[in-house]
């Protein structure tokens, strides 16, 4: 994301903007006037997979604070059930309301394409976040994390939790053929091969199939099979919550470390009772915040979605558009006892 890619075909305004903010990317931004700023008065609408979902409430509130910073009009709308056809109806509504930016998490990467393209023909810019559509149906996708970023943080967290002596670790995954899980596990193995993790030894990978009961019993079996196990990584929200529940009620609590990808609401109790020291996920509020700024930059003509273009996203700093019109949020966010109370999703 923050890698310096040479600006391709930089517009004069864009060049000015990037030069202007190069020395300062942390102060509250937004409404300062000048070339290359986001236009004020933009209508930005967030369309989550469904409303009444705490994850999206958090991300959309992040978007709201961004829209307020660049003095746009924020709205959130969406279906009460996560279905693509219901989402299409809301996209149609937004395009009739002449919304400038539609920020959407797609319920189906194909089914909402026609409606999105119709909205774009009517003048809207489309930013996807959390869950992408086909690249041809949107202007930008805000990617929450890369496989590499996820693998790195998982290994780092388990190494920190276990301590300098290291020991045996195991992975509790979702299903054996889940593409994303397997990509992460491969990356974790690469990460473990580094010298600083020489004392960690991966002894087993088991599959809880993203079912609570199965993940629970797999954790149980794992501990019975490997008496010297020091840590478990579960890069799935279902798995890590089930494993935490088992550990917290067993004699292994505090002796066998656990980390993974989890949500604060599911993990809060286990962080407080000491079963889990830290776990990771992206911060949905930042994701929504970045998506809103990206949409604002698109609608103001500062960027078009070409690889190498740069834009400023308020408190998060500067971002560069990557391949396939994708912007990466950054490294996953670490939740621990000191910050978990600030999150509700």
């Amino acid at each position: 994301m923050r890698t310096r890619i040479r600006a391709v075909a930089a517009i004069a305004a864009l060049a000015l903007a990037t030069a202007g903010c190069a020395e300062d990317t942390t102060t509250t931004p937004g409404a300062t006037t000048g070339t290359g700023e986001i236009k004020s008065g933009l209508k930005v609408a967030f369309l989550p997979k469904q409303v009444n979902n705490p994850y999206f409430t958090t991300s959309d509130n992040g978007g709201k604070s961004a829209v307020e910073e660049f003095k746009g009009t924020y709205s959130e709308t969406g279906p009460s059930e996560a279905s693509p056809s219901a989402q299409v109806s809301y996209i149609n509504t937004l395009s009739q309301q002449k919304t400038d930016v539609i920020v959407v998490s797609a319920n189906d990467k194909d089914a909402i394409c026609g409606a999105l393209n119709e909205a774009r023909q009517a003048g809207a810019k489309v930013v996807t976040f959390d869950s992408d559509t086909k690249p041809s149906c949107r202007d930008l996708f805000i990617n929450q994390a890369t496989a590499e970023g996820i693998a790195k943080i998982q290994i780092k967290l388990i190494a920190d939790a276990i301590g300098a002596d290291g020991g045996e670790i195991a992975i509790l995954s979702a299903t054996a053929n889940a593409t994303n899980q397997n990509a992460w596990i491969e990356m974790m193995k690469t990460e473990l091969a580094k010298p600083e993790y020489a004392k960690l030894k991966l002894v087993d990978t088991v599959y809880g199939d993203d079912q609570d009961q199965k993940s629970f019993t797999e954790t149980q079996a794992l501990l019975a099979k490997h008496p010297n196990l020091k840590g478990i990584i579960s890069p799935t929200t279902v798995g890590v919550a089930a494993a935490a529940r088992y550990l917290s009620g067993s004699t292994y609590k505090g002796k066998v470390q656990l980390t993974g990808l989890g949500t604060p609401n599911q993990m809060r109790a286990y962080v407080k009772d000491g079963t889990v020291k830290a776990f990771a996920l992206w911060n949905p509020a930042d994701l929504g915040y970045l998506a809103a700024y990206a949409g604002g930059a698109l609608a103001s003509g500062l960027i078009t979605g070409k690889e190498g273009e740069k834009f400023k996203a308020g408190k998060l700093g500067e971002f560069t558009v990557g391949k396939d019109a994708t912007v990466l949020l950054g490294d996953p966010f670490t939740f621990n006892a000191s910050n978990i109370e600030q999150f509700n999703f």
Partner: protein, 336 residues
């Protein structure tokens, strides 16, 4: 019956009430909500109404006979997934795919019909069962995959407007089918038989109406029409998924009941139902444009459904009471 009495009967009917409500909502919407007056609004409303109307046509007939089919949305979903799987397996002719889907839908409807007429089971129970069963089978066929690589020409054709307008041409197919269903229901002995068996199946059978056979075929036709709606759904959204159309049966039943068809059978007509399909579509899209949140929309749709069950019955009760009072006053007054 003289002309003024006839006019009074038509004007006082539930059909007219729904039509008037539709016109009123459209006018008020166009005046107060930005965007309702635009041609694009009507294009979106039509696109949304097409699958509902396709299923509401046979559903009207089914409910008039005193039965119900709650499995329609699952038939739609299953036909979508089968169409997707066939495409993956290399069936690349659209007419063949449509034919396969229609046959599948008819077969699924026949299963419903067999249980209901063959074993004499209540349609409510049977079709709640097949609602779950067919949806389950849809997941067996595609799982959580989506088949979406249909040729652009197909998907574009599905939503192509009638030249010179924004209204999708598929509405013409719906219109032709609506005329066919209306003729059958309102102008043939078969149609009169449907009302008869809805009012009193026993009496209808004695009068020579083939109750079981007719009902069986009604379920077959409902299955086929649901599958046709599934084909449209797949092409419109360019995506065959196992969860396509989940919950659509409620939209269909709501339209049929709001359209004045009695849930107890024997009463109602197609004009009211089609007006109700349009009314619900305009109302939903209009309120959405007015930024009414999804939760409130669900409450409104639910209330309308209740009102549509209660409304016509209350009107009928009041009218009957009024007539009884009149008949006691002048015993020779003609009954309508």
């Amino acid at each position: 019956m003289n002309d003024s009495a006839k006019a009074k009967r038509i004007l006082g009917s539930w059909d007219a009430f729904v039509l008037l409500a539709l016109v009123a909502v459209a006018i008020v919407g166009a005046l107060t909500i930005d965007g309702v007056a635009s041609p694009r609004f009507w294009r979106f409303v039509t696109l949304e109404a097409i699958p509902i109307a396709l299923i509401a046509l046979p559903m009207t007939l089914v409910v008039i006979t005193g039965e119900i089919d709650l499995s329609v949305a699952s038939v739609l979903g299953l036909s979508c997934t089968v169409m997707g799987q066939m495409w993956v397996w290399g069936v690349t002719s659209l007419p063949t795919l449509i034919a396969i889907c229609l046959l599948l839908g008819a077969a699924l409807g026949a299963v419903n019909g067999l249980f209901i007429t063959g074993f004499g089971l209540p349609s409510l129970a049977v079709t709640i069962g097949t609602l779950a069963l067919y949806r389950g089978l849809a997941y067996v066929v595609l799982g959580d995959r989506a088949v979406a690589d249909y040729p652009q020409t197909w998907t574009a054709a599905a939503i192509k407007p009638i030249p010179g307008t924004t209204i999708p041409w598929v509405i013409l197919v719906v219109a032709v089918l609506a005329v066919v269903f209306a003729i059958v229901l309102h102008a043939t002995p078969v149609g009169r038989g449907l009302y008869a068996m809805g009012n009193n199946a026993e009496a209808a059978r004695f009068a020579g109406v083939k109750v079981r056979l007719t009902k069986f075929w009604l379920f077959v036709i409902t299955g086929a029409m649901s599958a046709l709606a599934g084909v449209f759904w797949t092409l419109r959204f360019a995506s065959a998924r196992a969860d396509n159309g989940t919950g659509l049966e409620l939209a269909v039943v709501a339209a049929v009941l709001l359209g004045g068809v009695s849930i107890f059978g024997g009463r109602g007509g197609l004009l009211g139902v089609l007006a109700a399909v349009a009314l619900l579509g305009v109302l939903r899209n209009g309120l959405q444009l007015a930024d009414v949140p999804a939760n409130a929309l669900t409450v409104i749709t639910g209330s309308l459904l209740i009102a549509s069950v209660v409304g016509p019955n209350v009107v009928r009760m009041l009218r009957e009471r009024l007539r009884r009072r009149r008949t006691t006053a002048s015993p020779i007054a003609p009954t309508s």
